[in-house]
């Protein structure tokens, strides 16, 4: 009662060469056995990210099961640990437990070798969130970080202009200012913001993002951003590249800087949305971690069952912009809350 | 002939002058004794001679027939007062440390030499045991073996036999005598004056960091040395008066504080033991290493599991309390604390607490001061670290701490280990006072003199069983006691006996 694996899936010419689906997988699918779709991420216990990707995996799996019988598993170390993630991937490969892999490598291009090993063993690989463009992967699913940052910058600048807020200096911070994704967001933000205010003064540049704690916890943000804003009264706009935006909102409230200092950033949580409601935070971008995991899982099924894979390997997901009042291509705070609730 | 001279050796620790311009001139040929009260500077002198610490000033010269030696310490072997051994290593490995031989391969000292020394000291059977598992007596003998195995010109023995029995000491002195006759310098520090009489031709008396007197040849007698040692304490008893006369009180009626009936050790170190611990009496347990006497003391001290004939485990019942003091300072001294804190370490809230049930520093200080005075501890202040005290003074503190506990039974291994003679008398008196308040004292000691001085009753063990009981009221002098003890210990058993060393290790 299995499916017929299309020839387009059995072998396929990719830009990087010839891909041949493992005969083991073909046999399995044609016998009607369950396909194992594995989502390997950097840290299953990372705040927001881990939980949302699990939800995305589940949602993707439901769609996948419409075209073939699939079981989806999320693997990866609880916290980022390159060595552990790598040996887990090797173990899974050797024991033939993966029929399609959706992978978030810890750093760009870092897992090129192991991805190639999977591809050579006839297992399709998609990357998500962080890419390995040099490797034999089928496609990459993520936000376009620069573009998302740019949209954020443009939207923030527009709101500032509309509300007639006076901005002296803009600081940019991140939980991981050393990471390429964070730097890309800052780069985009600068570009977008400067497209409206060409003379805007930035406290720091892309390479020197203000560190706010490498564990992405709000506690750390409080301990670092509070003194920073205290010491630099000139900074009246703070762009944060990640979850830390929640802490920045808290700091503005704690220091009673409402209406004087503003923030923009990434991710959603109840507290972030509330800060937008209060007007302290102007813009946040919901990265849709769930979508980033959901899409490649669905694509795995598409490939195995129909032999389809996107022609353009760069599959950028639409950034979800949330502002107080909403607007064209923007969600309101309330719509953001709805989405958050649905994600549970 | 080898000659060791020291000129104006001075060593200060803070405000203390441990050595105060000491001059020394000794030659090889016979064992030279060094006597002195606790804290006189004997161990410090040893450390200077062995180069373990640098003197503040002064000069030490070792003259061999072929000229002066450049690095004196290289020709010096030491037996420390507290064994400097490696508890994580086996006896055999301990011997090898520092003289491992070739760089590569299995590490061991010359097996024949090691075997010979260990056999001579009676610990060959323990060669492969880790030292942590062995008793102080064995550890001390390992320390001696280490010195014996080194080829040195000067041998320093700092109370080497403070945990050895009469016979074991005798064997040690024979060996030391051989070394001396072989042309080495041999120095002996001890508080057992009798040791000087039997083995030394020359005794130096060290007081307050200087050599204060010298006794030679036939003049050496216990009284003579004691006279020098106690010279300044006019009111002190002479050593022959040490043995007080509470024997009259012995045999008092009353129920025993604790009754042992056919008790045995879990690990079989002793069995079939029946003793009544009577109030007011001091019982001495005696026996060579491996006889089970030390283990019995530990078991009475509730430090080692003991069971009754029916194999049920046994601890003092009801309201009977026990305090126990081990022989090794490693097991009695809290080296991270001050003298005063050590004196109070065993006390509870009752003694230390103020009205608020909190610790009262004033109270602690008062207890400490009292203790220092009562036990005659020579220390600059109660807040000095305990490690800055001399060996004997540390012993007084440890002893004080356990006596201050005021338990019904007190069990002490080697009560006066390393304590000088004038303090010994005080300690015996304190023990007697303690007993007189309706309590019971059990001591395990290896020195006949001490048994004679302190005990009301002796229980002799051999091969894990009681082989004799001596009521001290019947004993008039030390030789008689020595003979009785030797007699019991050499009693043949129904089956051929094993050499002492072949028995179970004395797991500490």
């Amino acid at each position: 009662a299995g499916i017929t694996v299309p020839d387009g899936a059995k072998s396929r010419t990719m830009p990087w060469g010839e891909f041949k689906l493992a005969p083991r997988i073909v046999k399995k699918l044609e016998a009607g056995e369950t396909a194992n779709i594995v989502v390997g991420i950097e840290g299953t216990g990372l705040p927001i990210q881990g939980a949302e990707m699990r939800i995305g995996t589940k949602k993707g799996c439901e769609t996948a099961n419409k075209s073939l019988s699939a079981e989806c598993r999320m693997v990866g170390p609880v916290n980022p640990d390159t060595a552990k993630q790598l040996s887990e991937l090797e173990t899974l490969l050797n024991s033939g437990q993966v029929d399609c892999l959706a992978l978030q490598p810890p750093l760009p291009n870092q897992f090129t070798n192991i991805i190639n090993k999977y591809a050579d063993a006839g297992i399709p690989v998609f990357t998500l969130n962080i890419d390995a463009p040099k490797a034999k992967r089928f496609a990459f699913y993520a936000l376009n970080e620069v573009q998302a940052g740019k949209i954020n910058g443009e939207t923030t600048a527009r709101l500032i202009k509309e509300k007639g807020i006076k901005v002296n200096q803009i600081a940019m911070g991140s939980g991981a200012p050393d990471q390429p994704w964070a730097q890309a967001r800052m780069e985009g933000f600068m570009e977008g913001y400067k497209s409206v205010f060409p003379d805007a003064k930035f406290f720091n540049d892309v390479k020197s993002g203000i560190p706010t704690g490498k564990n992405f916890t709000t506690q750390e943000v409080l301990n670092s951003v509070t003194p920073f804003l205290t010491a630099n009264p000139d900074v009246t706009l703070f762009f944060h590249t990640d979850q830390g935006i929640e802490g920045v909102g808290n700091v503005i409230r704690n220091l009673k800087l409402n209406g004087k200092v503003f923030a923009s950033g990434f991710n959603v949580s109840g507290a972030i949305l509330d800060s937008i409601g209060e007007g302290n935070t102007l813009v946040t971008i919901d990265q849709g971690f769930d979508n980033q995991a959901q899409a490649p899982v669905e694509q795995c099924a598409q490939f195995l069952a129909k032999g389809e894979t996107p022609a353009d390997p760069m599959q950028f997901l639409r950034p979800i912009v949330i502002t107080q009042a909403g607007g064209a291509n923007e969600l309101t705070v309330d719509a953001g809350r709805e989405r958050l609730k649905a994600a549970r | 002939m080898i000659r060791l001279t020291g000129k104006g050796i001075t060593k200060r620790y803070g405000a203390t002058r441990a050595l105060d311009g000491l001059d020394l001139d000794i030659t090889s040929g016979s064992i030279i004794g060094i006597a002195g009260p606790n804290g006189a500077g004997k161990s410090t002198l040893m450390r200077m001679l062995a180069g373990e610490e640098k003197a503040d000033s002064g000069e030490i010269v070792l003259q061999r027939p072929d000229g002066p030696v450049a690095d004196v310490w290289q020709r010096v072997a030491v037996v420390h007062q507290e064994p400097h051994i490696w508890p994580n290593m086996t006896v055999e490995q301990n011997l090898a440390v520092g003289r491992e031989g070739h760089w590569f391969g299995r590490i061991a000292v010359d097996p024949a030499a090691a075997e010979a020394v260990l056999t001579r000291l009676g610990i060959a059977a323990f060669a492969h045991y880790e030292l942590a598992d062995l008793s102080l007596a064995v550890q001390q003998r390992v320390e001696i073996a280490r010195a014996m195995l080194s080829d040195a010109d000067v041998y320093l023995f700092d109370e080497p036999n403070s945990a050895l029995t009469e016979q074991e000491s005798e064997a040690l002195f024979t060996t030391m005598g051989e070394l001396a006759r072989d042309g080495r310098i041999v120095l002996l520090i001890t508080h057992r004056l009798n040791d000087f009489v039997r083995s030394c031709d020359r005794v130096l008396v060290l007081r307050d960091g200087r050599i204060s007197a010298e006794i030679n040849g036939a003049e050496i007698s216990e009284t003579a040395i004691a006279a020098h040692l106690t010279a300044s304490h006019a009111g002190d008893r002479k050593p022959d008066e040490t043995r007080a006369a509470p024997r009259a009180a012995s045999g008092q009626a009353g129920s025993p504080v604790w009754r042992l009936a056919r008790c045995a050790d879990r690990l079989d170190a002793f069995r079939d033991i029946s003793i009544d611990l009577m109030p007011g009496r001091i019982i001495a347990l005696s026996g060579v290493e491996g006889s089970g006497a030390r283990e019995l003391a530990q078991a009475i001290g509730a430090f080692r599991p003991m069971c009754e004939a029916d194999r049920k485990s046994l601890t003092p019942r009801g309201r009977t309390s026990v305090s126990y003091l081990a022989a090794s300072r490693r097991h009695t001294v809290f080296h991270n604390m001050s003298v005063g804190e050590n004196l109070a370490a065993r006390l509870g809230l009752g003694a230390l607490g103020g009205r608020s049930r909190l610790l009262d520093p004033g109270r602690l200080e008062a207890i400490a001061r009292e203790g220092v005075a009562r036990y005659r501890v020579k220390t600059g202040s109660t807040s000095h670290p305990i490690t800055s005290l001399s060996g004997g003074n540390q012993q007084k503190v440890a002893l004080g701490a356990s006596m201050e506990e005021n338990t019904d039974i007190i069990v002490i291994e080697e009560p006066t280990r390393g304590v000088d003679i004038s303090s010994k008398a005080d300690i015996y008196e304190l023990l007697r006072d303690f007993a007189a308040r309706g309590r019971s004292v059990v001591v395990f000691c290896t020195e006949v003199q001490e048994i004679f001085d302190v005990a009301d009753e002796v229980v002799v063990l051999s091969r894990g069983r009681i082989v004799g009981r001596i009521d001290m009221a019947e004993i008039a002098d030390i030789p008689t006691l020595g003979d009785r003890l030797a007699h019991y210990e050499s009693l043949p058993e129904s089956s051929p006996a094993l050499p002492a060393g072949e028995r179970l290790p004395a797991f500490a």
Binding site: P177, T226 | L352
Partner: protein, 354 residues
């Protein structure tokens, strides 16, 4: 210095009390440098921020100091910190993997209860089974982390926006535990820190418990001979350590307003670092509460100062490393100096008499 002051230095007691002087000096030095660069440093707001940032670290470190004083170690505190918060949140707010919710007070009791349980287990495994506490608590760290993730399903909980919203009194009670502001905008959480400091200072320096911990940690073998209740005390310190970690986790949850999965090993690491910087010995038998507090201050001050100065994250790491080493070094050197000055004075004193 006058002769008499120098003579005072010779006294052991004075020496002991000056033990952490060098560390205090290092702290003052750093503060002066930061203040000279950023005048906002000494502002009341920033001081409040600084003190607030020490709360969890301090509370957990005081208890950890007792564990270390006894010669043991508790690596699991970071995980217990997370677990207590997560358990409380999941039970109270729902949304994790538990099929039911409970009122706030029950949830709080459960959060502290599971911390207590971990402490007891740590004690049991170390005392009864005789495992090295490094292993026991390392294992427990993993177990607690795993539990916390399993129970919460790695969700982030925010009481104020929860669906359904908890009753208002629960919200305000919970906020009042740590997050609410008192006069001068001082958060309640700081009171807990002060309370913990006083409590642990008394426990360490003015009770038989603390006195005996020192003895046991200095020489466990001698403690056994003296029949001090070693086993019982081990249980107690592990339980105290776990309870403080759990409490700190809940208080931080209240202050921050949300709780999610945390990186647990980093708190454990920081806590132990603070204790060791504060002069405690990992071999046991040495350690004071004031020293630990100084260690905590040093670490918090470094983070605060570097954030004020706006130093880049790479350079921050460099500084943290160098300053940690430097501060402890300064402490050692100043101890040596004081000690030898004291001895010199004593000697010249006696010299004058002689």
């Amino acid at each position: 210095m006058t002769q008499s002051a120098l003579a005072l230095l010779g006294q052991q007691k004075v020496l002991n009390s000056l033990r952490t002087l060098g560390l205090a000096l290092a702290i003052v030095l750093i503060a002066v440098i930061v203040q000279s660069q950023r005048s906002a440093f000494l502002s009341p707001e920033n001081m409040l921020t600084l003190v607030r940032s020490m709360v969890a670290l301090g509370m957990v470190a005081f208890a950890q100091m007792l564990v270390i004083l006894l010669g043991e170690i508790d690596l699991s505190v970071g995980a217990v910190y997370g677990l207590a918060g997560t358990v409380t949140a999941t039970l109270w707010l729902g949304g994790g993997s538990l099929p039911f919710t409970t009122p706030l007070l029950v949830a709080l009791a459960a959060g502290l209860g599971i911390a207590l349980l971990t402490g007891l287990l740590n004690g049991f495994l170390t005392v009864r089974a005789g495992l090295p506490s490094f292993i026991t608590t390392l294992g427990m760290l993993n177990v607690a982390d795993g539990l916390s993730l399993l129970i919460s399903n790695a969700t982030t909980f925010t009481p104020a926006y929860n669906e359904p919203l908890p009753p208002a009194w629960e919200l305000s009670f919970f906020h009042g535990l740590g997050g609410a502001l008192m006069a001068y905008d001082i958060p309640v959480e700081t009171l807990w820190l002060v309370g913990a400091f006083i409590l642990f200072w008394i426990l360490r320096h003015r009770t038989v418990f603390g006195f005996r911990l020192m003895a046991m940690g200095g020489n466990a073998e001698a403690a056994r001979v003296a029949r001090l209740p070693l086993k019982k005390y081990k249980y107690v310190v592990f339980v105290l350590s776990a309870l403080m970690a759990g409490l700190a986790g809940i208080l931080d949850f209240s202050y921050v307003g949300s709780v999610g999965p945390t990186q647990s090993s980093s708190l454990s690491f920081q806590v132990i670092a603070a204790v060791v910087i504060g002069g405690a010995s990992l071999n046991g038998g040495r350690g004071t509460i004031v020293g630990t507090l100084l260690g905590v201050i040093l670490l918090a001050l470094l983070n605060n100062g570097l954030a004020l100065l706006g130093v880049s994250s790479f350079v921050q790491l460099l500084f943290i490393g160098l300053v940690t080493i430097g501060a402890v070094w300064l402490d050692l050197v100043s101890q040596k100096l004081i000690r030898s000055a004291g001895q010199r004075s004593v000697r010249s004193g006696t010299g004058a008499v002689a």
